[in-house]
């Protein structure tokens, strides 16, 4: 594990490297911000909040600010595989409006099918041009799973009829880093649920390079932007958990930071949607919440400019940032406590069911999962 000092030094060096790359825009980010009525002070406040979001000490906020300034030097290629475009939609919702749209156009977006103006032959040319020109330097973001059955023929993209599988392998070759955005690109997602008729796989299963996995269906806009920022700042992958998810976002269980956690500890549960407990904000474990088995920052960061998250809206977490959750955590409105998941639930279930009954199932699961989380950190 990096010490903060070493990490800070690394970040500084990384920024020096970026500074030596050619600029894409003469105008600085501060000129642009001024046009939008954003002061340097606002910008530093924003940097501090991103720093906190990335779970870095406050002194790192100067690095964040510098990285934002230099961000336009990093070419980004974003590919769509077997997906629903929900992750792109999430990216487009990035909050803190003006500033994030600036960050967005300060990264040099070379290819993104949902947003780019070019189409057809000309779009394919853009991709080929970017893969060649920025070889070894581009950041590759992938949305969607890779169909592998039928030699990958369940997906072709472009006039030349290449399969998604061929395109991913080719694009991964020249990438400086690969980010699988969302559960589909990370772990196969919904199309990989049983019986997985298209042989859908996560990107890391079909390429031979390290891949950062951003679980979530979709991941919040903050987890996407934050991960891109980390790469831009440090030029390397962040610390990752056992499923290659950044620890800064996926290091804590949903359950541990949940706003209803006090209700759980007090044994106050929603028994049925719409009941007295539902109106009072009781714990959703008994109506299926998978927060105790799910690692993500949803309770602290929420979605859509901090507007809400599923548990606030009265529905349990469905575990969407975990591998195979469509199979392992179904059915979603019943407490898990009955399946072998991460090797911990059998214990929780047995102890809970045999000794004390339903409420304790949750507490048992919680206790075991905490130990598990600790082991994972180590």
């Amino acid at each position: 594990m990096d010490t903060h000092a070493a990490l800070y030094e690394q970040g500084k060096q990384r920024l020096e490297t970026l500074r030596s790359l050619p600029r894409r825009h003469e105008e600085t980010i501060f000129d642009k911000m001024a046009q939008h009525g954003i002061t340097r002070r606002d910008f530093m406040k924003w940097s501090a909040s991103v720093t906190a979001m990335l779970a870095l000490p406050l002194p790192f906020s100067t690095l964040v600010a510098e990285a934002a300034e230099l961000a336009d030097r990093v070419p980004l290629i974003w590919l769509h595989m077997a997906e629903c475009t929900g992750c792109s939609e999430s990216l487009v919702r990035a909050d803190t409006p003006n500033l994030d749209s600036l960050i967005f156009d300060h990264i040099s977006l070379e290819y993104h099918e949902t947003l780019m103006a070019a189409a057809g032959w000309q779009a394919e040319e853009n991709l080929e041009h970017a893969l060649e020109t920025y070889k070894g330097n581009y950041l590759l973001a992938v949305e969607g799973a890779v169909p592998t059955a039928n030699n990958g023929a369940f997906l072709t993209v472009g006039c030349k009829g290449h399969t998604g599988l061929e395109i991913i392998k080719h694009a991964a070759d020249g990438a400086a880093a690969i980010v699988s955005v969302g559960t589909c690109a990370s772990f196969g997602g919904v199309q990989a649920a049983y019986p997985n008729p298209t042989g859908a796989k996560g990107v890391h299963e079909v390429v031979s390079k390290p891949v950062i996995n951003l679980g979530g269906c979709p991941p919040s806009e903050k987890n996407i932007v934050g991960t891109l920022m980390y790469f831009i700042m440090f030029g390397k992958l962040p610390a990752l958990d056992m499923f290659n998810r950044p620890k800064w976002a996926y290091g804590a269980r949903v359950h541990d930071n949940c706003e209803r956690r006090g209700r759980f500890d007090a044994g106050e549960f929603v028994e049925e949607f719409g009941d007295h407990g539902a109106k009072e904000g009781y714990c959703l474990y008994k109506v299926g919440c998978k927060g105790p088995y799910t690692y993500n920052n949803c309770p602290t960061e929420r979605f859509n400019h901090h507007t809400s998250w599923p548990v606030l809206a009265g529905h349990g977490c469905m575990g969407c940032s975990e591998p195979n959750f469509w199979d392992d955590m179904a059915d979603f409105e019943k407490p898990l406590g009955r399946q072998l998941l991460h090797g911990l639930d059998a214990t929780a279930d047995t102890i809970g069911a045999v000794i004390l009954g339903a409420t304790v199932v949750g507490i048992g699961a919680h206790a075991v999962a905490s130990v598990f989380a600790q082991a994972k950190e180590d």
């Binding site: 046009q35 475009t85 999430s90 057809g120 032959w121 072709t156 904000g281 507007t307």
Partner: protein, 567 residues
């Protein structure tokens, strides 16, 4: 000598779409083929799961009209089980739908369709002072179109262009002669493109208030809605209303004005005047305004006969796969269809870009099936919804449509065009924004005396259930069909808007709306087919939605084979 033009990927849509056209020596399109090049198999995956999970899973069919599938899947199960949800749940679902439409149509017009109308490069030579005056022609209170704002936008984009770094705007069909806005009009629209990025975020937050997040909200359950605390919180309700007012302001002062501006500038452009060649339209009752009262009406119009609008008969819906990459003998009703993938690949031939793999128009060529109503292709979408409501004499719709026609000086026939399709989407957004407040008020009244949001559904494992739901998604009429047996999903199918519009030709050689809309169109330059993109985008394609596969009664999953054929 005819030439083949291949367009893949069609960008600025949801999903993977390929369109090919054949032009004659005068560059007039003689033949067209539309194909989705991705297959995911969600309905196969649904088989054997609990019906309670259906909504969450089918929602992942699409991350754009995400809420529509969630709601339709949930309501199909409720229909099958005979569950009657509380009034509050109906209102909350309707408010979420209102939020979705206000979000989705803005994103479509500005970020997906807009660059087919707006030449970004031309905007750079505009005079911002003059443009600010032009903006006043289309509304007396323009938004993001003052001289200073326009100048800032222009300078921002100029920085890109002067260094040859256009980012997402690179290598498009700029300068094509079918762009008709003046530089000043282009600058106004470009400014709105950027402003709309901000507005759409707020519109997404509206849905997240009652939905938990957007995309993929998580507050609907079979039997009702879970966001009861948000419903009972005056702060939350006010938050929705506040965001609603902000987004509505943009809709009225920018979106509406820009469509009037487009109608004027593009009023004689052939790729905008044609484009509706299948004159059959289908829409359903939707948007709950009050108990039993809807904002838009359902019905079927055949052959453009507005006087002959009739009720939908669900028995007349069937899907044909003659030219789709599946095997089946006949067109099948959604409750009883089969899906056996049968991929036959591409055929190599000469195109305007040299030798390329191309669609086999005589054989199978798409993962999209071809839905038919009583054997006929039909168009669905905002235009269909408005035409059906218009034909039904829905006063709000009649006034809105007639108002726009009067304002632009266009005849009723102008509705049956690409422009009509794009304008209908805007009119629908205005109506949804205005009328959605009636739903909001109905909710406020009802919660004074009734806080119910949920009824517990019961499933008898010894019974077999069949049900379906039809709703309006932003792209048109959506229906989900379910069969439940032994307490599990036995069979599932979604017949979605883009399937109706994008399907390949059927066994009788009848072609669907996408393909029909292109035939007869003249291209300025076949290597830069902007006109094709413009027409196809006017449908708001959503390909992941359309590439569905149903599970089939009587066929077990072990018999489900995925094998390459002719690859």
């Amino acid at each position: 000598m005819s030439q083949r033009v291949v367009i893949d990927p069609i960008t600025r849509i949801e999903g993977h779409l390929r369109v090919e056209v054949e032009v004659d020596e005068n560059n007039v399109i003689q033949n067209a083929w539309s194909s989705s090049t991705l297959w995911r198999g969600i309905e196969v995956i649904l088989k054997g799961r609990t019906p309670m999970d259906v909504g969450l899973i089918v929602q992942r069919i699409c991350g754009v009209c995400t809420y529509s599938h969630y709601r339709c899947g949930t309501e199909a199960v409720e229909n099958a089980l005979g569950v009657k949800i509380p009034l509050n749940a109906k209102y909350l679902r309707s408010l979420m739908q209102t939020s979705l439409y206000m979000h989705d149509h803005i994103v479509h017009f500005y970020h997906l369709h807009g660059l087919d109308w707006v030449d970004v490069v031309s905007a750079l030579s505009a005079d911002p002072a003059k443009a600010a005056q032009v903006a006043l022609k289309y509304t007396d209170k323009p938004i993001a179109a003052g001289e200073g704002e326009l100048r800032a936008v222009q300078e921002r984009v100029k920085g890109f262009v002067e260094k040859g770094q256009l980012g997402p705007f690179a290598n498009a069909y700029w300068g094509n002669g079918t762009y008709k806005f003046t530089p000043e009009q282009n600058l106004i629209a470009l400014s709105h493109y950027l402003k709309a990025l901000e507005v759409q975020r707020v519109a997404a937050e509206m849905l997240a208030i009652f939905g938990g997040k957007q995309p993929h909200p998580q507050s609907l359950v079979v039997g009702g809605v879970t966001s009861v605390r948000d419903m009972l919180s005056p702060a939350r309700l006010q938050e929705w209303k506040q965001k609603h007012a902000y987004v509505t302001d943009f809709i009225k002062r920018a979106y509406q004005a820009d469509i009037v501006m487009a109608a004027e500038a593009f009023g004689t452009e052939p790729s905008v005047l044609g484009g509706v060649n299948v004159k059959n339209f289908l829409a359903t009752d939707d948007f709950v305004l009050a108990d039993g009262e809807y904002m838009f009406n359902g019905g079927v119009i055949m052959n453009g006969d507005l006087a002959g609008v009739s009720d939908i008969n669900p028995d007349l819906i069937a899907e044909d796969v003659t030219h789709a990459w599946y095997s089946a003998d006949n067109a099948q009703h959604p409750y009883d269809g089969t899906t056996v993938p049968n991929y036959t690949g591409f055929v190599e031939r000469d195109t305007v870009y040299g030798k390329l793999p191309t669609l086999d128009g005589d054989g199978k060529y798409s993962w999209v099936k071809s839905p038919r109503y009583n054997g006929e292709p039909v168009e669905v979408g905002p235009l269909s919804s408005l035409l059906v409501s218009y034909a039904r004499g829905n006063k709000v719709v009649v006034d809105a449509v007639n108002g726009l026609l009067a304002r632009t000086g266009l005849p009723v026939e102008a509705l049956f065009t690409t422009l009509g399709r794009t304008a209908a989407r805007m009119l629908q957004t205005v109506i949804v924004a205005d009328e959605g407040l009636r739903t909001f008020d109905a909710l406020l009244t009802n919660i004074q005396s009734d806080e119910a949001t949920y009824v517990k559904p019961e499933i008898d494992a010894n019974k077999e259930y069949v049900g379906h739901a039809m709703i309006e998604a932003p792209r048109g009429m959506l229906s989900h069909w379910i069969r439940i047996k032994g307490g599990k999903v036995e069979n599932y199918q979604a017949v979605v808007p883009t399937t109706w519009n994008a399907g390949p030709k059927d066994a009788n050689g009848k072609i669907g709306p996408y393909e029909a809309s292109l035939i007869g169109l003249k291209l300025e330059d076949p290597t830069k087919p902007l006109e094709v993109i413009r027409i196809i985008h006017s449908f708001d394609p959503c390909m992941a939605c359309s590439v569905h596969v149903m599970d089939f009664k009587g066929a077990s999953l072990s018999e489900f084979k995925v094998s390459p054929n002719g690859l």
